[in-house]
């Protein structure tokens, strides 16, 4: 399929990209400015680079620990949520379960809760209720992985359902005729066809978990502290270290960008699949 004027979309998208990229560019500008330049007249063009903020951040062992925690928590959460969401969507679209539409709707109500007021109940549950002997979910990576399910699992179920529903039922019915077990059908037929949808769900839930701030700031204090909460440590009563904050912010973008570009191949595969089908 060829567009007649390939330069027109290119031109338009270049303009859109300027708007999209500007705040990120500005974040970068702030991260490489000398502290005393920050409050002078703003200038769109960058004239000098000051890398000390990045040096400070990258050599800081605490922040590196936070980054590792963030990676473990968001990857664990995204994998768990996408897997459970996929299983749930299969159950909701292929089985005739009593009240399944109500269950489907109920899942999303978990994402509607205003977060501020749920911080204390979650804190109390994690520190006092959800514990087995010495093992407690409070300030643990597993605890955060599970807590993030409250907003990510409904998201996964709601974004995946149209995908699973869109896979023709005739395909799995034919496989059942051939004597396949439900697990085989799920793995060999539904899973490959649902891949573009699963990829989108996986990156988005990963990103939501990676970016979460309020819950992490309240529910963790050392073992599971994440990078976004590390940011707030630079907002102090004596002023905000904007340069350091900007440098941390730029660094939080890097893993997200890597994850995104790795999974994007699958979305492209999904795009070709759509084209081949037609």
């Amino acid at each position: 399929m060829k567009t007649r004027f390939p330069w027109l979309p290119v031109l338009l998208w270049t303009l859109i990209s300027f708007v999209t990229l500007f705040p990120i560019y500005w974040l970068f500008v702030i991260s490489v400015k000398q502290p005393f330049d920050l409050f002078s007249t703003p200038d769109v063009i960058l004239r000098s680079f000051f890398w000390k903020n990045y040096q400070d951040v990258l050599t800081n062992p605490t922040l590196r620990g936070y980054m590792l925690n963030s990676l473990i928590i968001s990857s664990g959460n995204a994998l768990l949520v996408t897997t459970l969401g996929f299983l749930a969507c299969y159950a909701l679209t292929r089985f005739d379960l009593a009240g399944k539409e109500s269950i489907f709707f109920w899942t999303i109500t978990n994402r509607m809760a205003p977060p501020a007021v749920f911080l204390l109940p979650l804190f109390l549950l994690l520190t006092q209720v959800y514990r087995i002997g010495d093992f407690s979910l409070a300030d643990s990576k597993l605890g955060m992985i599970l807590v993030y399910c409250s907003f990510n699992l409904p998201f996964a179920i709601w974004t995946l359902r149209p995908t699973v529903e869109g896979i023709p039922k005739e395909l799995d019915e034919a496989a059942y005729m051939d004597g396949a077990s439900p697990w085989t059908v799920l793995y060999d037929i539904i899973f490959p066809l649902a891949r573009p949808g699963l990829a989108v769900t996986l990156i988005l839930t990963w990103v939501f978990a990676w970016n979460e701030y309020l819950l992490a700031a309240t529910l963790t204090n050392f073992h599971a502290r994440t990078l976004t909460t590390g940011l707030s440590e630079y907002v102090t009563t004596t002023g905000t270290a904007w340069g350091i904050m900007a440098a941390i912010s730029m660094l939080t973008l890097v893993p997200a960008l890597i994850v995104f570009s790795v999974v994007q191949r699958h979305i492209v595969a999904g795009l070709t699949f759509g084209a081949v089908k037609g």
């Binding site: 205003p114 109940p121 149209p162 970016n211 973008l253």
Partner: protein, 291 residues
């Protein structure tokens, strides 16, 4: 079809986890909402006060005002995101040089943390040091001051939301559009249908499930926005950007008014559920019955 037991087995982990981290905290919040409670006071006892918190809420002008501006904010932001997101998704389905690069660029805002988005927009729009007020002043002589003008602050929060979340709409619509069958479109073209006819009668009905899921997610997330706006404007000037999420945060943290904050949360959650449920029953359920 096959055994219902297996279906419930597949659903059970979801139900258990959401029960433990969704329903349990909610029951606790519901219980607190019938008490007067300041957990950080010298005497942090919970006092049962019947429905006093709820009575107060109905007559609280600040809460009602906050509800009103939240709905205005959500309306402008979500409608713009849907229209823009759809146009951009369609544009990204066509083939043109550098498409993959542009798509990656377009997705970048989405991978930024709300707290960081709030900080950046604050740095860009603060009157004394921000680049946007500076450029607007030197190019158009317009003085943008989000610290003083309610309209300016409101507009900037809407633009920030559009900037941050349009890519989400685009992505999920791309996923929906690529999985569409091509037969109905070919048939319509053979029958000589126009572009707008194809859009209203074929594209729209076919992508409706995905579109509605996207609307729902955006609607409920916009309704509970906190970090971004709190960081950008802190709810001000006055209470012009004190959206409901920010309002609850202010009520619970600086004022430590836990019982009242819980009552607001319960009501807001209830209203959100009712609105979404009506949309769901009105728009999705008919399709399920037909299908």
């Amino acid at each position: 079809m096959h055994s219902q037991k297996l279906g419930w087995l597949l659903l059970s982990p979801t139900i258990v986890i959401l029960g433990l981290f969704g329903i349990f905290p909610f029951i606790y919040v519901l219980w607190v909402s019938f008490h007067s409670w300041n957990p950080f006071a010298a005497n942090p006892g919970m006092v049962f006060n019947w429905a006093e918190n709820y009575r107060r809420l109905v007559f609280d002008p600040q809460f009602l005002a906050s509800l009103g501006i939240t709905l205005t904010f959500v309306f402008f932001a979500v409608v713009s995101e849907l229209v823009l997101g759809y146009i951009l998704a369609q544009a990204l389905l066509k083939d043109f040089p550098g498409k993959a690069v542009f798509r990656t660029i377009h997705t970048l805002p989405l991978i930024m943390a709300p707290i960081i988005v709030g900080s950046v927009w604050k740095l860009m729009t603060t009157p004394s040091i921000g680049i946007i007020p500076y450029l607007l002043r030197s190019w158009f002589g317009y003085d943008l001051n989000i610290g003083q003008s309610a309209v300016a602050a409101f507009t900037v929060t809407v633009i920030m939301d559009i900037w941050h979340w349009t890519p989400l709409v685009t992505l999920s619509l791309i996923a929906a559009l690529v999985s569409l069958p091509s037969d109905p479109f070919e048939q319509a073209q053979i029958d000589g249908a126009g572009k707008s006819q194809i859009f209203w009668h074929i594209t729209l009905p076919l992508i409706r499930p995905a579109l509605l899921a996207t609307v729902f997610i955006r609607l409920m997330d916009a309704l509970r926005t906190v970090d971004e706006v709190l960081m950008l404007t802190g709810g001000g000037p006055g209470s012009s950007t004190r959206y409901i999420g920010v309002h609850i945060f202010r009520e619970v943290f600086p004022k430590t008014n836990y019982g009242y904050g819980s009552a607001i949360s319960v009501i807001v959650l209830y209203l959100t559920i009712v609105v979404c449920w009506l949309l769901y029953v009105g728009l999705i359920a008919p399709r399920v019955k037909r299908g």
